[in-house]
Every structure is written in C-alpha cells, then in structure tokens.
C-alpha cells in the first residue's frame, strides 16, 4: 500500500505543478499582467496548434525524418568509433582530445557552413544531427566498455574466451546501461539539431516554420511549434526507454530488488 501511494505521489505532484503553472500563465495574460501581443495564453497556443495542425504535421514529418536519419547514422558511427577506441589503444589516444574539442564547437556556428557546403536540402540537416549525436553515444560506450571488472576479463581468459567472445558476452552487455543514457541525450540533440539546421535554410521542417511565423510576429504559433518540438523530443526519449526495457530485461529484476 505504502509503495503504491508513494508511486502515485511521484506522478501527481509534478502533474499538479505543471497544471498550476499553466493556470498561473493563463491568469497572468487574462488579467493583463503581461500584454497579450508579447505573450499568448496557453489556450491561444492550443488553438494555434489545432488551427495549424496539418501544416505542423507535414513540417514535423520533415524534421523527424532528418532527426531519425541523422540519429541512426550518428549511433552507427559512434558505435564504430567506440569499438575501435576500445580495441586499439592508439585509436583511443588519437581520438580522445579530438572528440572533446569537437564538442566545444557550437552547432549554431557550423550550421551555416554546412548549408554553404551541402545546400538547402536534406544533407546539411542530417550531417548536423550526426555531428551532435555521435559524441554522447561514443563517450557512453567507451565509458561502459572501460567499466568492466578486469577480474571478469581474467575469468573469461581462464575459460579460453576469444577477444570477440569477451566483447560480445561481457563488454557489450556491461555498456548497455551507459549506451542508453547516451542515447536518451542523443535523441533530444537530434530533434534540436535538425531544427537549428532548418533555421538557416530549407524548404520545410519545424525550423523553417518557426522562422516564418517569427517574421510574421505570430507568437502563438511560435509557442505552438515549441510545444511540438518538446513533444517530439519526449516521444523519442520515451522510445529509447521502451527499447531499453525490451533489450535489458535484467534491469527490471534489479529495480524490483531495490524497492523491496
């Protein structure tokens, strides 16, 4: 009983907080605390979403395709780099500083260059998403591979395990937890990265929609697109969590254990 009520509180309290904030926001606009031409009310945002739903949907599809494609490539590249860094000490030494430096370059700064190099189509968006998603995957995987107890590797050697068997049976499962935390971060970067690339040039996508509505000063639709972008990011994160539950059944057993 105590456990279920505690679990219910974990849902109810944050939900109430969100509702309270929305009510406060609505009141602030209705009462006139903030002029309506600067800040639309939540209900206005909702009706903007409803009114523009077809347009928003088609732009969201473009953004999602770019994000998914970039994420898939980013994960594949990140995985390959991590495996190479784990397998060859020289690769790890060579890439470690480069990886860190590459992450200090702001995406907004390279996005215009990418548009210059790759045009206004799909390519610059996908490249930007790849650049911003592969890093969290690589770092989390490398950390995961290194987290393996050296004694476990010794034990595997006394069982005559090959390098490949050690990777497959021990290192990869041990890195899964880290991989999924990295993936959750990558998933949000993917949507945001695609939107940023679209700002700087393109024919469709939520970023394109955003620049258009900003130029026409329709703030309710600005907020509408923000809501859609967050919703997409959350959905993608949720998908990653679902995937994790399916691929790591032992985590559920561990969690039950801790709650008892």
């Amino acid at each position: 009983m105590a456990r279920t009520s505690r679990r219910a509180l974990r849902v109810v309290i944050p939900a109430l907080t969100v509702v309270a904030l929305l009510v406060l926001w609505q009141l602030a606009v209705v009462v006139g605390l903030v002029p309506n031409y600067l800040l639309p009310s939540p209900t206005q945002v909702l009706s903007a979403i409803a009114g523009d739903r077809c347009l928003l949907f088609s732009h969201a599809v473009t953004t999602l395709v770019e994000a998914a494609l970039g994420l898939a490539i980013g994960v594949a590249v990140g995985f390959a780099v991590a495996v190479a860094m784990d397998r060859f000490q020289t690769v790890a030494l060579a890439l470690d500083p480069l990886m860190t430096v590459s992450q200090t370059i702001p995406t907004v700064a390279i996005a215009p260059l990418l548009v210059l190099w790759f045009g206004y189509g799909l390519a610059p968006k996908v490249v930007l998403v790849v650049l911003s998603t592969f890093f969290p995957v690589t770092v989390s995987l490398v950390t995961g591979f290194r987290s393996v107890d050296p004694d476990m590797i010794d034990l595997m050697r006394t069982m005559r395990a090959t390098r490949w068997q050690i990777f497959w049976q021990v290192k990869l499962p041990a890195a899964m937890d880290h991989l999924f935390s990295g993936l959750r971060i990558s998933a949000t970067y993917a949507i945001v990265g695609a939107v940023i690339a679209e700002w700087l040039g393109g024919f469709s996508g939520l970023g394109v929609y955003m620049t258009r509505v900003r130029k026409s000063f329709s703030y309710d639709r600005m907020f509408a697109v923000i809501v859609i972008i967050s919703a997409l990011s959350l959905a993608l994160m949720g998908l990653v969590s679902l995937l994790q539950r399916a691929l790591m059944p032992w985590k559920r057993a561990e969690r039950n254990d801790h709650e008892d």
């Binding site: 034990l155 595997m156 006394t158 069982m159 395990a161 899964m176 561990e254």
Partner: protein, 261 residues
C-alpha cells in the same frame, strides 16, 4: 592413502618466482607445491604476501619469471584454460540468467545454448540451486550466487580447481555451510582443489595439506613456502566435530607458528 603423493600430481608448481611487473623485485621466490588427484590443499598466508599472484600464475593468466607449472605432468606454464579458477568475487554477469551464467564456459567452448543448458540443468540440485535456473543474479543471496559461481567453475570441466578466498564474502553461518558442502562435493567428484585463505581455521577445516606462505614483498622480502602441514581429519568426521578436537588445535598451532603469529 599415502599413494596419492606417489602418483603424478594433478597440479604441480616447480620453483616459481613471480613479480607484479617486469623490473620489480619478486613477490614470491622459489615456491614449489603440488596438489594430488582429488586432494584438497590450502595455501595460507597474510594479506599481501602474494597468494593471489601465485594463483594467477598457476591458472596461466600470467607467466612466471622463473619456474614452471605442470598439469598431470604436462607443462602448461603461462597457458590459461586448463585449470578452473574461481576468483574472490562471484563475477556473475548481471545480464544473464543463472542458467546462462553457469553455462558460460560451455557456450564459450562452442556448444549451443540448448546443449549447454541441457547439460547444466541436472546439476542444479547437487549444487543447491534448484529453482534458481531462470533467476537473475541480482535476485539471489550471496550464498546462492557463490553456489552458482561454483557450478560455473565446475562446468569449466577441469579436474583442478583454484579457489581464491571463496567464502570470505559470506556471513559466518553461510560460510560454514558452504565450506562443508564444497568439501563433500569435491570429494564426490574427485576434484583437486587448491584454496588460498588467510583464515587458519578454514584451512585446517577443509584441507588435507596446508602450505604456509611467509614473507613481506612490500618490504622487499619475497614470500616463500615456510612449512607444509599435514591435517589428519578422519574420514566421516564432520567439520564441526573436527574443529573441537585436539588434532585440529595441534594443526592450527603448527600453522600459526609457521606464520610467525
């Protein structure tokens, strides 16, 4: 019974000299020991005197600076895979169910998962693991996890086992239970066991012979075998009963004196 010593030992170490790294002073120097077929032998020494280093070399994980390791008379120095080694931690993989954890050595040697499981399942009873086949390691108690680690070690299929403080992580009651369970099982399956421990009571309780390792490698004094003590636990006498006997105390005193305690 003395015949055991006359035949070719299951495992023999000849004048092993070992170091932690290439240019450092040796940790152990000139250590010779043997374990007969089906015999239980303990290696006793203080923490940090190089016991685990010796097991690493015997298992083939490291190459000795000098000396050799023989398995049934065959030179296996520096070659892992012929001796089963159970490390201090249970090292069960959290991502595998117990059945698949214990099957690991079989799967690694090329058997299909189905074959391996079929081979392992009938052994769960003997190892006190009935009903745990499909549990995750995180769902088991320390004692049960240790049993699973024993079963995995057994399924490595070697008749020589090296145990590194196998019971030290368990509470006192579980430890006593596991110890007598292991001794019965090893006798039944004719396993040659070399156990390292710093617990003298444990050594006298489970071994037929005890090697005492003394030295202080950190102070530059390499360890060596300073005594070999024969334990006379009569057949059929339980561990608890033996622990109350004069012979037990006499052996314990002999070991303690050799340790310089």
């Amino acid at each position: 019974m003395r015949g055991v010593v006359d035949e070719v030992p299951a495992l023999e170490a000849r004048r092993l000299t070992l170091a932690w790294s290439g240019d450092e002073a040796p940790v152990v120097r000139g250590v010779s020991l043997h374990v007969g077929v089906g015999e239980s032998v303990c290696l006793v020494g203080r923490s940090g005197c190089g016991k685990t280093t010796i097991l690493h070399a015997l298992s083939g994980l490291t190459r000795p600076r000098a000396g050799s390791v023989l398995l049934h008379g065959r030179d296996v120095t520096g070659v892992p895979g012929d001796v089963s080694y159970m490390l201090q931690k249970d090292l069960l993989l959290p991502s595998k169910r117990i059945i698949d954890n214990v099957c690991l050595p079989l799967v690694l040697s090329g058997e299909s998962v189905g074959e391996a499981r079929a081979k392992a399942r009938p052994l769960f009873g003997r190892f006190g693991l009935e009903g745990c086949e499909d549990s995750w390691p995180s769902e088991l108690s320390g004692g049960m996890r240790q049993r699973a680690a024993f079963l995995r070690t057994y399924l490595m299929g070697n008749d020589v086992l090296l145990l590194d403080e196998p019971f030290s992580a368990l509470d006192a009651i579980t430890r006593a239970e596991m110890r007598s369970w292991y001794c019965d099982m090893a006798r039944e399956l004719r396993l040659a066991t070399l156990t390292i421990t710093h617990d003298v009571d444990e050594a006298v309780g489970m071994a037929q012979r005890i090697y005492v390792l003394t030295g202080d490698p950190r102070a530059g004094v390499p360890s060596r075998v300073s005594a070999e003590v024969r334990v006379g636990r009569p057949e059929g006498v339980s561990f608890e009963e033996f622990a109350l006997s004069h012979e037990f105390l006499a052996c314990k005193r002999e070991v303690l004196e050799a340790l310089g305690a």
